[in-house]
């Protein structure tokens, strides 16, 4: 298309259907999430959907097991569905929502669509905290809260360091920021490996966690993680208007009555909190915070009042599906879900990098 024709079509272009009806789109995402959760519970080695190995069970048996009804099926069906599958799917939803929402908040604070808890190194920071909590025996002493608490502290320190590195005289240099994030992630990854290497007996147990996995899901984890997830999502949503203003620069945000210093602090704390919750139990699941907000921006636009609910709901569905895939893609084997998200996310990151270079939007 010639440039004139391109411009002409741009002027006459009506916003897409969902752009004009964002509430309907968010409602549909809610329905998608409910449907995905239900279907995902049925997916697995043991279930009516999936590889059917070692045995395929019927829908009615599965439904009985989910509802806890007495039926013809063996008793362990009930414990598989109610004690393993259901918390796992809900945990996947909460983690996906947390990571997507944390990514959205970080992209606004860093004013760059390539920021993400994993890329900036916050996930690795949280992993250091969670791993040391486990290896120091704090989880035994303090219970399920110890790992996310220590993960939060380490994630917060990491995000502060990376932000300081990328900021010179109040200006955010995105190249420096991403590079210091990558360096930070590599360094903290080494710290995690170091910790695990010296905890020889737990070594095998920690491998799936290190790669990002939902296999360890339990109801107690769901309970703990639901707190940072709810608080974080609500905070990001309530500051949505101010985040919009921040994307036009800190001075503009200030002039519009949104205190940028306070906003940046509260948003980085929130993002660290949500990331810590996710990493503490499921390890490093990368790129969810990068892919999901980007896809949602294409549909609903950049306004955080619409973007935050859309990204949160879709992030939940996204990770539920990625986890369902990880349970079934190799027969009889379970793939850590972090491998699947990284396989999608790596190329996606490169695509974004190319595109933003082309637009000259990086600096």
């Amino acid at each position: 298309m010639t440039q004139e024709a391109d411009e002409a079509s741009m002027r006459g272009r009506r916003p897409s259907f969902f752009r004009r009806n964002p509430v309907l789109f968010i409602f549909l995402l809610g329905i998608l999430l409910l449907a995905s959760s239900f279907v995902a519970v049925l997916v697995g080695t043991l279930g009516p959907i999936g590889p059917g190995f070692p045995e395929r069970i019927s829908f009615s048996d599965a439904l009985d097991a989910i509802l806890g009804r007495e039926g013809d099926a063996p008793d362990y069906y009930v414990s598989v569905f109610r004690e393993l599958r259901m918390p796992r799917v809900i945990l996947a939803g909460l983690v996906g929502a947390s990571l997507a929402c944390a990514g959205t908040a970080m992209q606004a604070v860093f004013r760059n669509p390539m920021a993400d808890p994993f890329i900036i190194g916050v996930s690795s920071g949280a992993a250091v905290g969670a791993a040391s909590a486990g290896l120091l025996g704090l989880t035994v002493a303090l219970g399920a809260v110890a790992a996310p608490a220590l993960a939060f502290v380490c994630a917060l320190v990491t995000v502060m360091i990376v932000y300081r590195m990328g900021t010179v005289k109040g200006r955010v240099y995105v190249d420096t920021l991403l590079l210091s994030g990558v360096a930070m992630a590599a360094f903290l990854g080494a710290v995690v490996s170091f910790l695990i290497y010296f905890a020889r007996e737990d070594y095998h147990q920690l491998i799936p966690w290190l790669l990002g996995s939902l296999a360890m899901a339990r109801w107690s984890y769901v309970l703990v993680i639901s707190v940072p997830a709810t608080v974080g999502i609500l905070a990001v949503f309530l500051f949505g208007r101010e985040l919009n203003a921040l994307l036009l620069g800190e001075e503009t945000a200030h002039n519009l009555g949104a205190n940028p210093e306070f906003l940046k602090k509260i948003m980085l704390i929130t993002a660290a909190l949500m990331t810590a919750g996710a990493v503490a139990f499921c390890g490093i699941i990368g790129f969810v915070g990068l892919i999901v907000p980007h896809m949602m921006r294409i549909v609903v636009g950049a306004d955080h009042r619409k973007l935050v609910p859309a990204a949160t709901l879709f992030g939940a569905s996204f990770l539920i599906w990625a986890d369902a895939l990880s349970r079934t893609v190799i027969q009889g084997e379970e793939l850590p879900v972090g491998i699947i998200t990284a396989l999608c996310g790596g190329p996606f990151f490169l695509y974004l990098l190319r595109r933003s270079r082309g637009m000259g939007a990086m600096s």
Partner: protein, 421 residues
């Protein structure tokens, strides 16, 4: 709204960016802030928006110090239009304008109110961006973007509009549209405007008053024709300008002096016969080449007279619109007596200035070298019914040299043809 800046100083990194600046801006006034780069204009604006911290009682709105206001209260007082705005994120124009409502949101949980929607629609209508309300902000032209940002400022429902060089990245039509829009808002909504402006002529044309800053000090404040004169511009900007009045609006405007150097007193002598605006390039070229130029006979108010004044060339001058008097003609001839060379510009010849052609003949008779420069339209235009054309022929017959343009005239000079002294 009355805005008072009282004894405002601001230091950054041990360097005083603003020193004891005090002035007031009245309700509905359009004040221009001017000064060279680094004079503290933007810093002053940032102190007013509290983006930079100033002393407690330095900025007062209706006698209320701004440091006692909340962030939202302040954003409802001043709306700022920066030099340019950009974002990598796909906001529509409507999204950007809606940001102006942030200071008026009472309940974070509530969705966009009807009042917000109406304020945004009205702001887009007034600033002329309703037509592209749903287009992505990042795809707009510079002028359209500034319109959207003005709409955002209006949606803030501010009491004063602060603009920081809003026209820097716009082309000339964009600059005028932008300034017309701001003036319209200033007049129709009696919105107080404080604008940092780079372009002296734009400021003189649109502002009620101009505050001129230099090295952080308030150098002058007042109406444009009080503040803008060649002395202040020379002392603040270090540039030699001529200050003129626009014949249509009587606004002052500045023009950098045309010559790179002033006419020398000790160079080789050349006398120029010109008029009607035909002599400017000739005089300038001769002055720049180092000649000591004289000129005559010119009527006062002739644009050649203005040119010669700017170039500091001694002029044999006649009163406006009058025929050349015998007295001035005689003085003109006495100047010719002092010079070896006379240059004749392609001036239009009428009964009033026919004596200038006769002066050329006098020079030839006196053995001087006479160079006649043809203009783009050929030789001197005859308004005397054939008399001048006949006289031109006789000048050529008497030995006047014809050249096509100023460069050819100067080449003749360089060969020494003119440097006979």
């Amino acid at each position: 709204m009355k805005l008072s800046i009282s004894d405002l100083s601001y230091a950054f990194g041990g360097c005083n960016v603003l020193k004891n600046v005090s002035f007031e801006v009245g309700e509905g006034e359009f004040l221009g802030l001017m000064g060279p780069n680094g004079s503290g204009k933007t810093t002053l604006l940032r102190c007013m928006t509290r983006y930079l911290p100033a002393a407690a009682r330095a900025v007062l709105v209706d006698m209320k110090p701004i440091h006692t206001m909340t962030d939202r209260e302040l954003a409802g007082t001043f709306a700022v239009v920066p030099q340019s705005s950009s974002t990598d994120f796909p906001f529509t124009v409507r999204d950007v304008v809606m940001m102006g409502r942030i200071p008026h949101v009472r309940n974070r949980l509530a969705s966009t109110s009807r009042k917000d929607v109406e304020a945004v629609a009205a702001a887009m209508e007034v600033s002329g961006c309703a037509a592209f309300a749903d287009r992505p902000f990042s795809e707009l032209s510079g002028g359209e973007r500034q319109r959207a940002v003005i709409a955002r400022a209006l949606a803030q429902a501010p009491r004063a509009l602060l603009l920081d060089e809003p026209t820097v990245y716009l082309d000339i039509s964009g600059q005028l549209e932008m300034m017309d829009l701001v003036t319209k808002l200033n007049k129709e909504q009696s919105l107080t405007v404080v604008a940092v402006l780079h372009d002296i002529n734009l400021a003189a044309r649109y502002c009620d008053r101009i505050a001129l800053l230099n090295h952080g000090l308030l150098e002058a404040i007042g109406a444009p024709d009080e503040v803008i004169n060649s002395e202040t511009i020379l002392s603040v900007y270090g540039v030699d300008v001529a200050v003129r009045k626009d014949p249509f609006t009587h606004n002052v405007y500045v023009m950098p002096r045309s010559a790179r150097s002033k006419a020398r007193k000790d160079g080789a002598r050349v006398h120029v016969l010109c008029g009607g605006g035909s002599g400017g390039p000739i005089m300038r070229a001769l002055v720049d080449s180092g000649y000591s130029v004289t000129v005559g006979v010119l009527n006062v108010l002739d644009s050649d007279h203005e040119c010669a004044t700017d170039l500091h060339i001694p002029i044999v001058a006649e009163v406006p619109f009058a025929q050349i008097s015998d007295e001035m003609h005689a003085e003109n001839l006495s100047r010719i007596d002092e010079t070896p060379v006379v240059v004749v510009s392609p001036f239009p010849v009428g009964p009033g200035n026919f004596k200038n052609l006769e002066a050329a003949m006098y020079a030839l008779k006196a053995g001087k070298q006479v160079v006649m420069v043809f203009g783009d339209d050929g030789p001197n235009i005859d308004f005397t019914g054939g008399k001048a054309d006949a006289f031109l022929k006789s000048l050529i017959d008497a030995g006047a040299i014809l050249v096509g343009d100023v460069d050819e005239m100067l080449r003749l000079t360089a060969k020494g043809g003119l440097r006979t002294q």
